[in-house]
Subunit: 281 residues, 2 copies
């Protein structure tokens, strides 16, 4: 596996591949890789000639009070994992390379950031759209792989790709879960054993919600959310940012639940913020 | 000359060229072509295998009270001119193709839009950056050609290209002027014969300013601007948006004039807004 740190080296590498007509599968990550990332890498490996994974903890997508500094960084372990999964290139630029002195350009997808995580993480999706747009310019991927745990992120990027006619295909991959159902996340590392036990309640609430919708027991979103909040309320030191039923394309809240629907939530357990969602097709 | 109207057709055309290793010179325009555009086309012709010119009157870069509706549209004449200048492809998408229902993504370069035309044309440069970013995704040019009359636009696009690591080289071309010095502009067509005679005073003021700086007669920007305003004040039905001496890279106003400097102005003559600038190297 080749490790590339400079934008120019990455760009000349991918341009050479393009001239040769080789397809590039790209998995952008912030490192601290888990089984969710590995499922993206394996899918990219199956579908492309060359697999590029980036590791870049993007300061632009963290708010001033968020966990940029303590976000887990474990480059050596990540590198070993990617070698094992037959990745061709690990692109790992520094923050100075991506955002040099005088950097100012932003990409924004306003219509999709007014609901769900948007109001709780001001500027987050602008940071995501900006760095992904830049990574696409550098890596020039044929296909880019993202996990559905970050559902709103996928919608924002899909919208950006469509709106700007970017020549890349977005591949959305199912959320990978631990045995008990907790969605894999780099932030799960923050949880104490006690908190880890409680964390499963987010998925339990979403799972219950899907059942209640599936069996048409509860199609009023207010009532449904109230019912599910009963589950989340039992988490000690827990706090709910939101729990919403929205249209899976526009992400607008539903007045009455119809299919397809997305049931999504974000909770705090102590100092850790977790998100998860289920799609009701 | 091939005329392409759909994004998909344009994109597959340019991807084929890229695979063949052919260089693409791109001249994005809003049509109503004049000698300034033609100089860009000729330069692109000299430096590339294939020349693509786009004609798209971009609604996103016009304010609600600006001249989007009356902006000159003369497709047949433009087409004839481009054939004469040996252009390979004219890309002329409709507004619905570039901004379909639900379109929301914007590209912004905030640090460079706080001075000069920025405060007078809120949202203008966001509209420019957004459409140019999209056109670059569609045309995938090796080099893109812009005229220095729109100096701030060039800086905004250069900054966007650098910031997002877009694999395109920006080529800035000197302003082309009429015999009396008036900068070529599609908006010159708006001027009555009387107004056309007065319009030259903008360049006269800038020319005088360059002389005064060149000969170190006036290096205080306030004094210089006051002196030049005397020239512009004599225009009947004239109004000055701004006349400024700024750093040519950051576009920040200078406290004391040093080289290199950009002397730039925007004036209204009746209902027509004209801009021009001179660079003091």
């Amino acid at each position: 596996m080749k490790i590339i740190r400079s934008i120019q080296d990455m760009q000349s590498y991918t341009m050479r591949l393009q001239m040769q007509g080789q397809s590039i599968g790209f998995v952008p990550t912030m490192g601290a890789l888990h089984e969710g990332h590995r499922s993206l890498v394996r899918r990219a490996r199956d579908e492309n000639d060359i697999v590029v994974v980036s590791i870049f903890v993007n300061p632009l997508q963290f708010g001033p009070k968020e966990d940029y500094k303590r976000y887990p960084r474990r480059f050596a372990q990540d590198e070993a994992l990617l070698v094992k999964d037959h990745v061709d290139v690990l692109f790992a630029p520094g923050a100075d390379a991506i955002y040099p002195q005088g950097y100012t350009t932003v990409v924004d997808v306003p219509a999709l950031t007014r609901t769900l995580c948007g109001p709780f993480r001001r500027g987050h999706f602008q940071g995501v759209a900006t760095v992904v747009a830049k990574l696409f310019e550098i890596v020039q991927p044929t296909r880019a792989y993202f996990g559905e745990k970050d559902y709103q992120q996928i919608r924002v990027i899909a919208r950006m790709i469509d709106d700007l006619a970017m020549p890349v295909r977005l591949v959305a991959c199912s959320t990978v879960r631990e045995k008990d159902g907790l969605a894999c996340s780099s932030r799960n590392r923050y949880l104490s054993r006690k908190e880890r036990e409680e964390a499963i309640k987010l998925y339990q609430a979403l799972y219950l919600g899907r059942e209640l919708i599936d069996q048409k027991i509860m199609l009023n979103p207010q009532k449904l959310v109230r019912r599910l909040m009963d589950v989340l309320k039992t988490i000690p030191h827990g706090r709910v940012d939101y729990l919403s039923v929205v249209d899976p394309v526009t992400l607008e809240p539903m007045k009455r639940i119809h299919r397809p629907a997305l049931l999504a939530g974000a909770i705090w357990i102590g100092k850790t913020r977790l998100i998860d969602n289920v799609i009701i097709p």
